[in-house]
Amino acid sequence: MKILIIEDEADLAKSIGIYLSDENYLCEFASTFKEAIEKIDLYEYDCVLLDLMLPGGDGIKILEEIKAQKKLDGVIIISAKNSLEDKIKGLQMGADDYLAKPFHLSELAARIYSVIRRKQFGNSNMIEQNELKIDLPGKKVMVNDHDIMLTKKEFDLLIYFVSNKNKVISKTALAEHISGDIADMFDNYDFVYAHIKNLKKKLNEAGCAPYLKTLYGTGYKWQI
């Protein structure tokens, strides 16, 4: 899987690159408008991470270029602006997702995973991992071909873990993932623990191997 990271802050681009490169993603970088346009013209990417404020031009123009060339690259806008107008404009112009800075790397990885899978598999979007099968559009989970019933939050958490496999994820990142902007306003995330406990229990009872591990007391990891 090839990913193009268009971001002028070298440090941030590097962090994203390091985090993603462990997961079979091949990352390339562009730090200016010109460089980004050149790479877009020459290569195909599975996903493009696009910062809107770039030296040399407006990131929206790059999105226009991708769409004008009828490329199938998934596009996720990562912006420091976090203005609703930008978000709506970006999505209307064909971006697949929008993530405001600062974000959790695990959240970014989950968004990339979902964009790429949607683009590549469409309606037959099925994740298989040993005894575990997840039907993404149908929101169904099977272990050894038996359905297990998960709540919406548990399902969301499972996808989050699967798209961040072998990574340590903090409770804060999980809370923000399942509660959105509202989690932002609280400091106490005990409810995450309850959801994870239930998820673990359901997977375990269905005969799923213990992929989901608790680390250091409050961190979690999907180990495979």
Partner: protein, 349 residues
């Protein structure tokens, strides 16, 4: 409070009446002397009764004339006064009306006329300078806050990404993990403050201007379930008393922010295992949660005036709420009754 021109009219009238009153004996004395002189000249001797009669006639005639002139003068003054106030003071009243309607946060500069009267012209020029200066300072301050928040966003993103990479290190022990987690938590708070500052500057500026008719009852019923996780964490007994069909005019995003901030605050500062009531009736939204000590209503809505040191928020939630209410002319009030904090918002003017 008296009107400026009424005050001068009254003084003119007092002066005129004093002058006319003094003129009555003056006229009388002069006319009597002249009359006496004429009588002496022609050697006419009057009887006492005729003399008294003449005196009365003179006094009566003089007084009558004075009263007539006084009334004419009064009428003239009032008419003149009206004309003066309409014409002479008109530039003053025009400027006054413009200043009355001016609001710094709306950033509409005032165009003063240029009257041909020196004093008013100078007044307008001074006002113009003063207001332009204020608008400049205000927008500079706003721009500064906005730029500062924007500029902070990227380094915050970098720190967060680096800490999260550090979490992936395989040689971490529990203590080190906790340190990183604490740093991440503090960082999350900084990001939150930053985001809210940005939001505040946007609301104070002229963003989120578009309005629509919002079904507040429905929006509120949709908003409350978003908080269920946090309610459960504190085992709060959430009581909803929302009457259907309450509609208000405003920007939907801003109304959502207002509801979110008020509910967040109520949950955040509610003690564990206590009731929290959200009520919407007619145009009045009331959110009530338990608490030990009342808050200072003067400070409450100011920036960074957090009421409590435990579980600190961003210190901006309520000033955002206040700012939104101010934009639409809604009234937000705070009371502390029976060990309960009560926030209410009255929508509509």
């Amino acid at each position: 409070m008296k009107k400026l021109l009424n005050r001068s009219l009254k003084q003119f009238m007092t002066y005129a009446s004093i002058v006319l009153l003094i003129s009555v004996p003056a006229y009388y004395i002069i006319i009597s002397r002249l009359w006496q002189y004429e009588l002496d000249e022609h050697n006419i001797v009057l009887t006492d009764a005729a003399g008294r009669e003449d005196t009365f006639i003179i006094i009566g005639a003089v007084t009558l004339l004075t009263v007539v002139f006084f009334i004419v003068m009064l009428g003239g003054f009032i008419l003149l006064n009206r004309r003066i106030s309409r014409r002479l003071w008109q530039p003053f009243y025009l400027s006054l009306e413009k200043i009355k309607n001016f609001r710094l946060d709306q950033q509409n500069p005032i165009q003063f006329d240029n009257p041909d009267i020196l004093e008013f012209s100078e007044l307008n020029q001074s006002l113009d300078r003063l207001i332009t200066g204020n608008i400049d300072v205000f927008s500079q301050q706003k721009e500064f806050a906005e730029n500062a928040s924007h500029e902070l966003q990227t380094p915050l993103a970098i720190i967060q990404s680096k800490l999260e990479l550090l979490l992936q290190s395989t040689t971490l022990n529990d203590k080190q993990y906790d340190i990183i987690e604490d740093a991440l938590k503090a960082l999350a708070r900084v990001s939150r403050i930053n985001k809210n500052l940005l939001l505040l500057t946007k609301i104070e500026g002229s963003q989120y201007m578009d309005k629509e008719n919002v079904d507040l009852s429905r929006l509120l019923m949709k908003t409350v379930p978003l908080f269920i996780n946090f309610r459960d964490d504190k085992q709060i007994d959430l009581i909803q008393d929302i009457s259907p069909g309450v509609c208000i005019e405003g920007n939907k995003i801003l109304i959502e922010i207002l509801l979110n901030n008020l509910i967040t605050n109520a949950i955040r500062y509610s003690p564990v295992n206590q009731p929290l009531r959200i009520a919407l009736n007619d145009n009045l939204l009331t959110i009530t949660n338990r608490g030990a000590i009342g808050l200072n209503p003067d400070k409450l809505f100011k920036r960074f005036a957090t009421g409590s040191s435990e579980s600190p928020g961003t210190g901006l939630g309520l000033s955002i709420v206040k700012q939104i209410c101010m934009r639409y002319g809604w009234v937000i009030t705070y009371r502390f009754v029976d060990q309960s904090h009560i926030f209410s918002v009255r929508f509509g003017n």
